[in-house]
Symmetry: D2
Subunit: 356 residues, 4 copies
């Protein structure tokens, strides 16, 4: 279904080579200032052409707000944001199923009816409205004292060994054009460059953090903060793994190591470590909320792959032409941040219902 | 919120040391046979006392069906299953916050009002109704040709290097009292035993597979098969990481490796590898659906930990008394299977709405 | 589906002649006092045997709270309330479809699988858990300054011409054993008595009012206060019509009559009349919220009716044996109140999310 | 919330004097033909300027489909329909609260932040996207053999005494420019004309029928067919009362009259009368589904009314200038039909999940 959220309600729509992509978001409180310039900046972080490894497609990515905002403030009514598609070249991508793409599953689900030009509704282009909604959520969160930041942890086998400590370090890192420590960034760029040189692509890991999240939001079980955030993270086309805090590394630990010990600081309970990523029992504890998303490599590659032509069910080979990002991890950072921002804001809004 | 699902609707309720735990599940088609003996067997797989590493608490774990089933078949009305609590020792767990537990966050969210005896509503005991619902889902799935299996991939640093190939191998492995290859099982038991000997606990990884899932179910974005299944997996108290297919390992791969190449077998498109875990673009492709869940170590340990007594906000230490599982990974296997079964059944039911 | 609500979440389950009926309600704030005696009183208002016109079936209707309440206060966890079925006589109601009952539609939907003994899941007995949930909602509302009251407007053609003015009058009327003005009550009892004497039944209209509802809750369109409350009112088996304020009478009015003119009283805007029943544009205005529900006559009557035996699809006649209420309108009053209370509380809770 | 539905998911957005109004609908099966000309015709039925009693505002009401439809067929992806606002005169409606309007409640809910120009998000103009979505639902329903029709039952005190019998009669009546029997139509027009002549407005009742609805869709309790349809009908700004079948008239009947007796016709069970409007126990029985909606008079009238200026909380009078519909009942007919069509389609889609 195209709708997400209990406090906020987010719908997205559109196809890569159709008229437009867009979103409707409802539930933001009335009277919130929306900084259009800041929205534009966030959209630019996701836009193609940002560095040497992104597609040449020239998307204006200028989002038009059609409703729900007046004189720069939310009115309380649903907000529709529309991003017209400009440079769409139909005719691309016809014929054989692209391995690793949704071509195959769209065929299974929709018969021949899906509009798969450019990936259609499955395209990474649909993450633009997600970033748009996330950027509004970030502005609301900012006024609640919550900051959301992202960084690249790894591209291929090039990992960043340095972990930022504290909100200032996260903010500085996240603000970089390439949000990784300098030596790691160089190795990551090299990994992406090597993939491109070989007509290939490469995946990576994005880590996001939310500072200032109030303790006590989220729920046990089905609406755990992890469930809420993960359901959005797994909505991002490339994401195949999600972890919170030390995540999969916790599986290898002893309890005495994994349990974050507690102390009191300025009258507030805090934990000495944050291996649980700010969430216990599905509920936030006031420590930074930390999540990681594993992004698979872009499936569109120039190298020849074995596949099937569904028209006659024959096996064939395919070498995808045109320019494609050898690595979408850099562009994925604001998308993963948007998912975290929307998830956290939803938990905060829902939490207001339960206050006495 | 305590309710999950769009096709099926699952609610759970109860506290560890209250009168009962239970669930209400709605949306199962009418006329489905419910094998009570099979339900009992599934409940036993999760029950404590199953091996040397589980708590001595004697839960009958006998579930009473109060509604929605008549003469061994579903009636179409909501099914309530109730599991009375027997051996509840109130008085346990009072005082200081147990590190790694929800004591801290429950205090933040509910003030002093939560019933935290034995972990209360946050207790692993709440996974019993989840297994109960999952066991019914499995029976419905079985008649649709879908089999759901689980195994232990790792406990602590003891990993199982052998991966089962094909449904028969999965079924055999999953049916073992300790579902891991023999040499790995020995190392895993040793790891759990060592943790216990040191008053500590240890985490692990559970992998589950669903064979026979029809292609074309699930949705792009917010109701992706990954989002649906992950939202349930992250409802399980101990789970801090979830991945599908090769998950985090995909982040380190090239596209040419991560893309599953396609071929035709008996008139059906299939992939040579299954690195995407049976899901592309949020929609199933007919290959086995594979998911992994990382379980953190049980937070209840005998070793002394530093913590806080919220009554007077003083720092103190805590050594949790009583017998506690040094490793809940074995008992988590049917819980993770239940989550997968419920997620897959929900996707299948929802998919029926979209058929022409 | 068996689940309702966005702020609170209510599930009901059970069958008339099964083991039990019950409900799970989640989302009530933690720490709310639950007065068990008051719960019992509300349940008694709906219980059979309350007057000469209700069935002789002896339901204890004693509800057991299984979870979510400790030491007389909500814990924040889901609350399960269970009402065991006592005096269930299986064997009743077999064979031909009872006209006006759900026998026919249950057959269409569930095949022969539904448990239709005593009306099964469709029985008016399922309104007991609704009253139980509503009684808890009323207690929470009471502490928010909201009072919910009900009265009988008509039974058959016996209408109450007097309309209570103000909360005190509503409270006094609602507290009567038979909540109607004395002369109307006499005519209403006579109408019910006459129906019974002829082996027949009779319908009626219940009106409910909520005083003290804060202005500004509810939403335009799909979650209008009318939509929220009506969706619950139409869940009550007998209800076939719902109106707010002057409802259908507004259709015959001029705008100059229907528009409630405004004035200022003690610094607050109020309206001189309340023809819109406290709701404009789906949002409450602080005036009393007024709703009416039309209840059809009990379909179970002793008079012979023409019907069909689905076993062999032959036409036949049916005279329903046993004692049946000739009029359920009196017992419906607390049910309609419960629906209003739950609807209003849900709107209030949801409104908290939108506050700045 | 701006989202409705479980099988289909409908979101609406927009303000009367903003850039656009529109909707996103998801869940329609892929491959459904969408007849654009038919869509346009439905939109015209709701458009202003249709007769002497509707506003002069020239809305093109041309809806642009931005996504989800390709080559005249649904793709399975969400469909966004956009209706740009043309002739918007800001500056209207400023100042005092218009009695009977949402001005008052929007102020309570959103503070001064709502965009109330022309009624803003509360405007009847928002019913245009509802009709647009309903028109698509009708096309899908048509191919399932379901026909949806509407008529005017009353305007003010001018009632239509003739009830159409059978689908052909309903179709013929519904297709009229003014869907009422000729003598009633003359009286209704006179009633509207008289109201206008006096600077006033008048309300009315719309009845809608769905023929061919399969038996066995809908659910007991919270998702009863009545609850589903009523929640949409009460989303229509002017609607203050909803009834199914004989509705409020059932309250005055005996059971022997209200119970629809059954017989067998061509191997199918049918009822001799249809006082229950095609629904028993929340589930359809295959008889025509009949619903009525009471529309209050347009609150915008030229006659002077007493009201309050919220800027300084002073009492004042208001005579609303400009041309306003003295009666919106005629334009409401396609809106009420749309609500029924969407409700019925949702029930049908949801019912597919429960089939064995």
């Amino acid at each position: 279904m195209n709708t997400w959220g209990r406090g906020i309600r987010l719908s997205i729509f559109g196809e890569s080579h159709g008229a437009a992509v867009g979103m409707v978001v409802d539930g933001l409180p009335a009277g919130e200032r929306i900084d259009a310039e800041e929205l534009r900046r966030e959209m630019q972080r996701r836009a193609p052409g940002r560095d040497a490894f992104s597609t040449a497609r020239r998307e204006a990515d200028a989002a038009e707000i059609l409703s729900g905002v007046k004189d720069g403030r939310t009115t309380g009514a649903p907000i529709c944001g529309l991003i017209r598609n400009g440079d769409a070249r139909s005719g691309d991508y016809d014929g054989s199923l692209r391995p690793g793409h949704a071509d195959w599953t769209a065929l299974l689900k929709y018969g021949g009816h899906a509009d798969m030009r450019g990936g259609g509704h499955f395209s990474g282009r649909l993450t633009a409205p997600l970033v748009f909604a996330g950027a509004m959520a970030k502005q609301v969160l900012g006024r609640l004292g919550v900051g959301v930041y992202g960084r690249i942890v790894a591209i291929g086998d090039a990992a960043d060994e340095e972990t930022p400590q504290g909100e200032l370090a996260w903010r500085a890192l996240s603000g970089l054009q390439f949000p990784a420590s300098a030596p790691a960034a160089a190795r990551m760029r090299a990994a992406a460059g090597a993939a491109r040189a070989e007509g290939d692509s490469v995946g990576g890991i994005v880590e996001v953090a939310a500072f200032g999240v109030p303790g006590g939001v989220g729920d046990p079980f089905f609406a755990s903060a992890e469930s809420v955030v993960a359901s959005l993270l797994f909505s991002i086309p490339a994401v195949k793994g999600v972890e919170f805090g030390d995540g999969f590394r916790l599986a290898g630990m002893r309890g005495s190591e994994a349990n974050d010990e507690l102390f009191v600081e300025e009258g507030v309970i805090r934990s000495r470590t944050n291996r649980n990523g700010g969430i216990l029992g599905g509920i936030t504890n006031g420590m930074p909320l930390i999540a990681r998303a594993a992004c698979k490599p872009t499936p569109s590659i120039a190298r020849e792959q074995r596949t099937v032509d569904p028209a006659d069910m024959t096996e064939t080979t395919l070498a995808i032409k045109g320019r494609h990002d050898p690595c979408i991890v850099l562009r994925a950072v604001p998308v993963v941040e948007a998912a975290l921002a929307l998830g956290v804001l939803d938990c905060i809004l829902v939490g207001r219902m339960e206050a006495r």
